[in-house]
Amino acid sequence: MKGSFKAKVISKRFLSDDVFLLKLREPIIAEESLPGQFVNLRCSSIYEPLLRRPLSIYDVEEDNFLLLIRIIGKGTKLLSLVREGDELDVLGPLGNPFPYRMYKNPLLVAGGIGIAPLHFLLKKLSFPILLFGARSKSELYGLEDLTKIARVIPFTEDGSEGERGLVTTRLKEFLKGHDVIFACGPMGMLREVVTIAKDVGVPSYISLEERMACGFGACLGCAVKTKKGYKMVCKDGPVMPGEEVII
């Protein structure tokens, strides 16, 4: 039986006022996780909030795995209050990874907190190109570390770092010579990425988000509309072929 794990909090580090990196110890999750997969974790030992929170795996280091978390509600707020040594109830790894072994020269596109699954993916590739966009410099989470493992082209809407503008503005140009796009970010960005990928005739894979309960395909709650009917983000995704998703 695939039960949930008790993962011990190893460290917590804030990257900005509302974004933090949580390192958890659980050897089996660390061993089995692939880039693009997620874990579903409980934010408290009582049932408030009721549901688990699905979070992309940001990285794996030996027996540990890391999550990049933005505080957006009471669940993530509670997670931001955990301390070293606390134990969290974690189900995972769940979902399908990016099919990175099928392609030779992927282009990665991230928007803000959408960097989370792509960071893990970057580490499996050899110094790929990453287009990383955000509203401003403070939302280019972990930018400095990223430059050590990828050729990062930053974009900010306010021009505080890299090029001013959206991450997709020069996507077509950057796409030359690449055989696939792997992307994660806000819906508007993903829509644009998929449209451009279709125009150019390059496949795209996007990591999606939807309100979720079980995380393992039982409740059919996290539906997303695709050309083949409703698919579940937890089980058919979270990584899905961009051309199939109706966004």
């Binding site: 309100r211 079980c214 393992f216 039982a218 409740c219 539906a223």
Partner: protein
């Protein structure tokens, strides 16, 4: 220690039943199958249903509103592809069925004869297309007719699942009993809403959804008590059961078994934890047979 219970002529090893909608054969590896008394399938309808538009879920205070829309492959593909995979699990399988018209129910029951299933649960919390979308379970007469027609069409064990939207839950339960039901389960989800105040629109893909989880437990418990007191057939309690204490409350209120729904979505190993908790409680209380607990609520004269 005896944990076995009887629902009419259906005998279960223990009183823990997986409620409809929270289990699929694909997700079986997450569940402690050996600790489960019976599994109720996701609701099947005569024809395939693609389900409701997203968002289909909304977390509320101690609760979950869902509007899945009975997404399923339809009875024919269910029998061909999914049912064999349920049957492999070695646990009694109760098939949850629903329809768009009253006539759909007996037709589906007939299709399920001779398939080795333990029985049928009637999901009556869905709109009756022929009666302006009113839920079948609102009206006692309708419940009586559906149960009787299903019993006539098949020799299967039948349990209507009552909706808390019923005009009178006790009257509805009695109608089910009179129709020939082998047991009664209650309650299904409570119709609920949530509004996005900026967009002035529903926070779900549909206007309304069904509320489940700890928020509904005290009301569900009261309804189970009232029904169990009124009918002679066994009652299966359901609604926000999250742990052994909750399950025990329902048994003491008169339920012979309990359905675990929402809790499985958060912790699929919960059936085993609840069963362990019940065992431990019985040990502490010196109770050898779980049936001693069923309906053991003590009522003070003033309460009546």
């Amino acid at each position: 220690m005896k944990l076995s219970i009887q629902l009419g002529n259906l005998v279960l090893e223990n009183p823990i039943i997986i409620a409809s909608g929270v289990f699929s054969p694909d997700s079986a590896s997450y569940f402690p199958i050996e600790a489960i008394g019976a599994i109720i399938t996701k609701t099947v309808t005569p024809r395939p249903r693609e389900g409701n538009p997203p968002p289909r879920l909304l977390e509320t205070a101690a609760g979950l509103i869902n509007s899945i829309g009975l997404q399923n492959v339809g009875i024919e593909r269910f029998i061909e592809e999914e049912l064999p995979r349920y049957m492999e699990l070695g646990v009694p399988i109760i098939v949850s069925i629903s329809g768009e018209t009253e006539a759909d129910f007996p037709l589906m029951a007939e299709r399920l004869r001779g398939k080795g299933i333990a029985g049928i649960e009637l999901n009556l919390s869905c709109p009756n297309v022929q009666r302006g979308g009113m839920h079948f379970g609102r009206d006692a007469e309708t419940v009586f007719r559906i149960v009787r027609e299903v019993k006539d069409a098949s020799s299967l064990w039948v349990m209507p699942k009552l909706t808390p939207q019923a005009r009178d839950i006790v009257e509805t339960a009695l109608a089910g009993e009179e129709g020939g039901a082998d047991a009664i389960s209650l309650v299904n989800t409570f119709l609920a809403m949530a509004i996005d105040i900026r967009a002035r629109s529903s926070r779900l893909g549909t206007l309304m959804g069904g509320l489940s989880g700890p928020a509904i437990k005290p009301i569900a418990l009261r309804m189970v008590y009232e029904v169990a007191r009124a009918v002679r057939i066994p009652v299966v309690g359901c609604g926000g059961i999250m742990n052994a204490e909750d399950a025990l409350e329902f048994l003491i209120a008169g339920a012979s078994a309990v359905e675990i729904g929402t809790a499985c979505l958060i912790n699929p190993s919960i059936p085993a934890e609840i069963l362990d908790g019940i065992r431990k409680f019985m040990e502490e209380e010196g109770i050898d047979d779980i049936r001693e607990l069923i309906g053991s609520l003590k009522i003070k004269p003033l309460d009546i």
